[in-house]
Subunit: 379 residues, 2 copies
Amino acid sequence: MRVLRTGVSTVAPHHSSEPAGNPAWLNTIMKGDCVAALNKLPSKSVDLVFADPPYNLQLGGDLHRPDDSKVDACDDHWDQFESFEAYDAFTRAWLLATRRVMKDDASIYVIGSYHNIFRVGALLQDLGFWIMNDIVWLKSNPMPNFRGKRFTNAHETMIWATKSKTAKPTFNYDALKTFNDDLQMRSDWHLPLCTGGERLKDGDGQKVHPTQKPESLLYRVLTASSNPGDVVLDPFFGTGTTGAVSKKLGRNFVGVEREQAYIDAATARIDAIEMGSGASLDMQKGKRAEKRIPFGNLLEAGLLEPGAELTCSKGRHLAVVRADGSLKCGEHTGSIHKVGALVQGAASCNGWTFWHIKSGRKRSPIDELREEIRSRLRA
Amino acid sequence: MRVLRTGVSTVAPHHSSEPAGNPAWLNTIMKGDCVAALNKLPSKSVDLVFADPPYNLQLGGDLHRPDDSKVDACDDHWDQFESFEAYDAFTRAWLLATRRVMKDDASIYVIGSYHNIFRVGALLQDLGFWIMNDIVWLKSNPMPNFRGKRFTNAHETMIWATKSKTAKPTFNYDALKTFNDDLQMRSDWHLPLCTGGERLKDGDGQKVHPTQKPESLLYRVLTASSNPGDVVLDPFFGTGTTGAVSKKLGRNFVGVEREQAYIDAATARIDAIEMGSGASLDMQKGKRAEKRIPFGNLLEAGLLEPGAELTCSKGRHLAVVRADGSLKCGEHTGSIHKVGALVQGAASCNGWTFWHIKSGRKRSPIDELREEIRSRLRA
DNA sequence: GTCAAGTCTGAATCGGGCG
DNA sequence: CCGCCCGATTCAGACTTGA
């Protein structure tokens, strides 16, 4: 993996036509300031953004455990801001730079704690982003509150947003539902902290980065809001969890990071990963992904004859199929959906599952005939 | 209980010296606009504030369930704001009015959803409040996402703050820890919605208030951040959950509410409560039951790789694991349970015990990997 | 009275392609 | 851009109904 240094830019200015193949910045870490680096990327070029910005923790003095050991707090210089105004200006700048490189239907996830997430969320709204969900990452093993003065801070908050209210972001609903044992994925995610072998350590056994995120978190974000081959941007790349999971899941990434030590650790980490590929990356698809079969096809295929009689599952309503693929039920005529809605007095109706045909003694939904057509098309 | 109408104020102007005994406004509902009513209270007079302001939901058209029934949305006039600016101005005004009546060491809790909570949190910080925690109320029974377009919105967020960084708020650490089976109370609270007998209904069986909060939530807030005899203010009193729990726990309350229908319901509700008769009021504890582990967690945790091969115990059926946690076995795809049922021609199947993975020469059920996750979560 | 099956509902920013 | 219309989409828990 190459590292592009944006301070001494090795990224060529972007003209309207990219050379064939992947652009030079793909699957690289750009070194330098977040906004300056993002400004070197072409606009509308990324599908998903995961951002883990500085939390502006505003820590006071040292904190000691009951056994008097010192807590290794996040007091790095990059987490120091003079005021809320300074933090807001910083946030607004990187959000705007990020917004420019997002495709119109791209998603952005920003993670934070109560120190910064309210400011981030309000600014997202002020800048015209549209919030889809907030998600809480519940830590199974959070650090306890040693002083007993507050609740154990056992979660962080992620905001999922799009560029605008009208955006139609990728959301792999069916894949997530399957992933979650056939229940809808909820806004609360129970995941352990990044510890043990996953946590990057330096030669002295010290952790390389104070707030390394667990791969499980990124795994779920990428599964939810991207597809294989998509481009995932992380403007605060750190030790590269986003890049690592992107590579495993067959996504492309681009990162921005200022600190050379983090870049070095991330580069080694990602180089050691084998790129995911092939059928194992296929996402579980739902009915929406299936090709649309007009009702008339059933007549063309000979699966139904004009004059065939359809009923609802209880046999209460009776309709006749006409040669043009419309139904007639008493005074009502129209599509299977329209007539189904009319006879029920409902606002809408899925005619495929509402209408049944007699096969032997039992009634089966005409959806089974549609499935027969689909299987013929696949063959 | 008396109701004070602040429009035709029955509250005498407050001088520096209160007459002996409780002030007239104690344990009453003040009718009228929130800010105007609060301005009639003496400064620095309350110990705890619980505020459930309008969420500014910005709903679009109607939403229907899959069975075509209409969702009874919260579309009340009091939740309509013209813009974020209007909502911010409203929020700033009631926060400032509330701040004045808070004692220096008082606590304030504000609850909201992603529609409004980020604005509330940022404004709290801008006005000099000091955030102690954010707390997530995880709903065991939230409304599902009917269209499959987002994560199930399964939580709301509460912010606990003080008037300033130097405040020393009440925090009954030991009481909470005892309640929580001798573990520190965490920032995630697992509580069901307010339904059933607790939910106030009118003569037609319709809910009186669209967003009545569960008493369990207030019980925990009051236990954490107040003492018997304290004064608890709720500037958006609604149907009076704050007043009801205050009375049960031997706290004093003062509420502000604009809608007469809510005031009537709250008055009857609170009058029916016997002070301190809280035997039935056990604080809802965190769930002790074993947590459900979705199959996808095995991939996130790295215990299975995409592409891994699973078989039944005899090795007869072979399935491949995909990155999204679905299985593929011939033409069949879906969850471990669904595919297990399909390959056996069974109606249902426990995928955890049906599917095995080879470890060395023998096959072991993937249930053992789930147990490994559980032990990590316990650690 | 018991149990099983069916109904109802909860702070919701809930569609998309084609003409 | 607007309108039409196809047709996809739900979990937990309390309550009601009926055998």
